[in-house]
């Protein structure tokens, strides 16, 4: 690697040397990464690995939004949290873990639930949004906010033994509503708390979310836009399928859409999906 112009300090050159060595990533990719900011919504099963790898790889700023506290029954999959943080804020716990692995990173803590009342202000501060939430109304809300603000959205989901991943609202590609204009029936909106999840499944999907965030932030590689990854952990089968492009009639991102910031603020996502954003009481196991 020859002496070209860059802003990397000697400490950064040493820390990120294994990425600087990569011809297709190199100083250019690392410099872009260091100048970028990524918001991770949800510090749970998907957010844990996504945050660890975004923090480690050298993103400039990482934001974390969540209103939950760490519980023992999260710990089989939410590996960013330690037992010492049980009962304390997930954002506080995740932020401490990110700082412990990379003190040169700026971590911004949003210890609150993401709502239509604060989402525009919070999301507008970041270049890229990672949806690591666990419910349908939050997914529609985050999508619509990203469309209104023009932010790319890295969307992952995991339930049971399966996972899904795609990038929305990127470079003319589809948004979540282009694929799912009508919300599913509430009976089809199961959460990990109700149906269970094998801990390492969100681990795989969360790592892949970090990867897509890194690719977009560094302008390296082909992000998973217009394609969706479908992961079946038990059979060890992974499909990457071609999905539809932007829908011209999409109510939010379509050609004639008039969906504005004010529409967003006034929209009732819980009513739209007929399901709540906050976690309900978990299922009782009777063993």
């Amino acid at each position: 690697v020859s002496g070209t112009e860059h802003d990397l300090t000697p400490d950064m050159i040493y820390r990120y040397s294994r990425q600087l060595l990569l011809p297709s990533f190199g100083v250019k990719g690392q410099s872009r990464l260091l100048k970028s900011s990524v918001l991770v919504v949800g510090a749970g099963g998907l957010g844990s690995p996504a945050l660890l790898y975004l923090a480690a790889c050298g993103v400039g700023q990482v934001g974390i939004v969540d209103n939950d506290v760490v519980e023992l029954n999260n710990m089989h999959r939410q590996v960013i949290h330690t037992e010492a943080y049980i009962g304390r804020s997930k954002v506080e716990s995740a932020a401490a873990a990110c700082r412990a692995i990379n003190s040169s990173l700026e971590v911004i803590e949003h210890r609150e639930a993401l709502r239509t009342s604060n989402a525009l202000e919070i999301l507008s501060k970041y270049d890229i949004v990672v949806d690591a939430t666990d419910n349908a109304p939050s997914r529609y809300m985050i999508n619509d906010c990203c469309v209104v603000l023009g932010k790319p959205l890295v969307s992952g989901a995991a339930l049971g033994l399966e996972g899904q991943l795609t990038v929305y609202n990127y470079n003319g590609g589809p948004c979540y509503r282009c694929l799912f204009p009508t919300p599913p029936p509430t009976t089809a909106c199961q959460r990990c708390a109700d149906s269970g999840v094998l801990g390492v499944v969100p681990g795989v999907i969360g790592c892949l979310q970090a990867l897509e965030g890194i690719k977009i932030a560094s302008s390296v590689g082909e992000p998973l836009s217009g394609r969706m990854l479908l992961f079946d952990s038990l059979s060890a089968r992974i499909r990457i399928v071609k999905i539809r492009g932007r829908c011209l009639q999409c109510e939010v991102c379509g050609e004639n859409s008039s969906f504005s910031r004010q529409n967003f603020k006034d929209f009732d996502y819980e009513k739209f999906t007929q399901s709540p954003m906050s976690t309900s009481a978990p299922v009782k196991l009777n063993l």
């Binding site: 339930l159 999840v197 399928v241």
Partner: protein, 99 residues
């Protein structure tokens, strides 16, 4: 006509928890080709064992179900009018929200 049908994201629970079905399906009497519209009727009748409303709504799949013909969103091939061919692989997958 031989087809492989796959169910995922929880839809397999509607068909005895079996994800992959190798099936033989014939076009409707009087028709030369088999479309996705025909296949949906066939699946509903022959594979869906419970809660059909979790699979079908009106004449198409319920909201939140992605349909893929040979790893490609059926929106790109004509949705219900997609013509199926021998050995096609059709995937029905419910979108997940957990994390």
């Amino acid at each position: 006509m031989h087809l492989t049908l796959e169910f995922g994201g929880g839809l397999e629970l509607l068909c005895d928890a079996v994800k992959i079905h190798d099936v033989h399906v014939e076009p409707p009497v009087g028709s030369e080709k088999m479309t996705m519209r025909d296949l949906l009727l066939w699946v509903q009748k022959n594979l869906i064992k419970e809660r059909p409303e979790m699979f079908i709504k009106g004449d198409t799949v319920r909201p939140g179900v992605l349909v893929l013909v040979n790893d490609c969103d059926w929106e790109l091939s004509g949705q219900l009018d997609t013509t199926l061919e021998e050995k096609d692989v059709v995937v029905f997958i419910s979108t997940l929200h957990g994390g």
